[in-house]
Amino acid sequence: MKDNKNHKIIELEHVVVKLAGDSGDGMQLSGSQFSDTTAIEGHDLATFPDYPSEIRAPQGTVAGVSGFQLHFGHINVETPGDLADVLIALNPAALKVNLKWVKPGAIIIIDVDSFEQKDFLKAGFDANPLEDGTLDGHKVIKAPITSLSMTTCLELGLDPKSSERTKNQFALGMLYYMFNKDIDTGANFLEEKFAKKPIVAEANKAVLHAGYHFAETLEEFDITYRIKPHPEMKGRYRNITGNTAAAWGLMAAAEKAGLELFLGSYPITPATEILQELSHRKHLGVKTLQAEDEIAGINSAIGAAFAGKLAATSTSGPGLALKSEAIGLAVITELPLVIIDVQRGGPSTGLPTKPEQGDLMQAIFGRNGESPVVVMAASTPANCFDYAFMAAKIAVEHMVPVILLTDGYLANGSELWKVPKMADLPVITPRLVKDNDQNYKPYLRDPETLARTWAVPGQEGLRHRIGGLEKEDIIGTVSHDPLNHQKMVELRQEKVYKVANSIPELELFGEPAGDLLVVGWGGTYGHLVSAVKDLQTEGHSISLAHFNYIYPFPRNTEEILKRFNKIVVCELNNGQFIYWLRAQFPQYKYLTYHKIQGLPFLINELKEKFTEILKEH
């Protein structure tokens, strides 16, 4: 690796790296590039991009800082990590924003070319943070990143503007050196990424190498680091984001069910990638409609469901609000429909790029009339695949709309995912009817699940009409009969409760009884399980019950709740799941730990809270 007698390589278990710069500096690209490399070398990993909602906020300001955090290791990695071991700050604003998110003694790589007085003043520093002791206690590596990148590119004849945009690769080259990573893997990524712009690919590759060789010359890098591959990871893996996983889960369900997939959707942060991914999958029979608004998105999906497709719509909180009326239509027409809500900070436009779990009540209750739907939540980026698959399976087998909650943290975060085989996935049996079935009635139900059957336009001998008006039980004609209405409301409710018979029981992480039960749901799993695991290792009596199925609850929920002395409900909102638990199981006392800052939990803050609760009598 290096002809330096002083060179020493230190083995690490796991490392958290944060790349930060201006939102136009390519931090997301270089972050994905480095993640791919660590994945290919067999590390477990989790990533979290952190970017502003403005596409290019004013350059050099804290509002415009874009970041990408990567946690990779030889051990199991459950979260992107609380604090970074290594920070790359391409400008003072990136340093300003991220300084509070690095560990004491962290390595901070600085682009000195961007630390002129006007730059650090713009970022809100009163004095040059490189000189006034701000960075004391950290290992600071100052590199002329912009100028060396420019020099490298200009030699290749690239224009100055494009040249400057390669500086993320210089910083990345230094990282490849620092962690003894194969730089060819990084170069291959660039070749694929810029396949249509060979000059840009060449320049970026040259700068990546320049950064690598620059690091080689630095005394500070006499010590470099190595992380061994994860020992238990066997088989085929890929790095996947929650949004891609959700899109693929729907596609896998369609294939398994023998149906074509239709997505009617409208672009909205942070859900847009689901629509984007599926619009590229025409070759697998996927049809997408980029509708004129959220309302048309879901209504077109309802039309497609009526016509026999596996129909879905994807959105975020504000879009879910607009879709409320149509979800009610899917409830009363009892059509299968998957609604994916990638939650973000609210209310209203709120914090579009930040994660929050504020839509739970909206998902459970947010419609007119008695309008129950199945509500479930994914809990890691990769299991967005499994829960999108299950949402579709439940929808077509129970003839019911299903809301799947994910969030911006899962959607944009990524982790390694063991690639499943289609043959190993559960069977999906849509409730389709044969042509000319003499017994067909639109609202005739399966006695076990109460699901009606699914006859679709074009089928012979099954012409029927459905819609938003209340229907007569079994025969499905319009009915305003009072007793029939009550019966239909109860049937639709009971049908949702009966889904509990088709979902797995709640699994506990830890002992089945004890002092403290930590309860969570959705995207907080990684942080909760990490905190609980640490405290278990320290000898505490603490277990985690993490919910993926929320409405209805798993059958054994009460069995689990009753075996603990204390229960603490943790969520990224003002206390919504706790409200739902109290309504369903009022006999227990629930403590709460919630946070509503547009940020994930920190493992350390959770541990502190749990320790405090365990100490109290």
Partner: protein
Amino acid sequence: MTTEESNQVYPLTKEDFKSPGPVKWCAGCGDYAILASVQSVLVELGGRKEDVVFVSGIGCSSRFPYYINTYGFHGLHGRGAAIATGIKIANPKLQVWHITGDGDSMAIGGNHFIHTIRRNIDLNIIIFNNRIYGLTKGQYSPTSPRGQVTKTSPEGVIENPFTPGELVMGSQGTFFARAVDTDPKMMKEVLKAAALHKGTSVVEILQNCVIFNNQIHAAITNKETKDDHQIYLEADKPMIFGKNRDKGLMYKNNKLRVVTIGQEGITEDDLLVHDPVNPDNMIQYSLVRMGLPEFPMAMGVIRSCDCNDPYDVLLERQMEEAKRTSKIRNMDDLMNSGNVLDL
């Protein structure tokens, strides 16, 4: 027509589309005549009756799907166009009709209306325009004329009304026709033309609400005045109207004019000849805008242009091309493609 099972050819009759239950519009409502015309047209069009779907929004007219024996979907207020779009994309073989009213399509569903037309998906949209909200019992609608006194405009409407055809033209619509509910022959002609057009077809039917807006179209539809107040446009024919067939339309100084044949030396040869297929909709747009008292109302197929392939055809073409060229044939292929890591 053939059935999948027997492959026997059998003709459709009106009986095939007869209402499956009681029809509950008010006695004397214009909707009855429209329903009868649609049923006749479906018989004439032939095809499998199972391939016909009626979709609607909310309003009196939107009860239509319950009154015709086809697959039917009674949707949400204003959203019928979006539901119909999903059905047509899901299965392009279906013949999809969307029934709507002036409130449903021009107010709450205005956005879906214009975007459906812009997208040019192969739907047949019928707007029952009675210029009033009927189901909520008599409030003004987006097509109510200025000055009209209704339950929500006690001193008269102070808004400008929409002309549905103008929205169609402004949305780059490829088909627009107009008819009156008192003329079954005219309705059948335009409805059939709408069904045969590939792309979004919009048919506006001037429909009488006998309860809340009775006689709103009387000046256009009355026996005594209709010949002078309507002009029935037919492709490639000069634009002549009037009880005595002596009036016509000319296009002069960039505007339409009503002229009398035989006066000022005007002959039939000087009149505009109707050109509904012309991609340039300038004249068609002027025809749509005509109204009493200066002009007769234009009836018939005003625009029918095959200027571009409908959305559903283009989408199917993209789907086929993608399937033909991709090596990834199923989910196993996809999940094992690209950046995978074998440990």
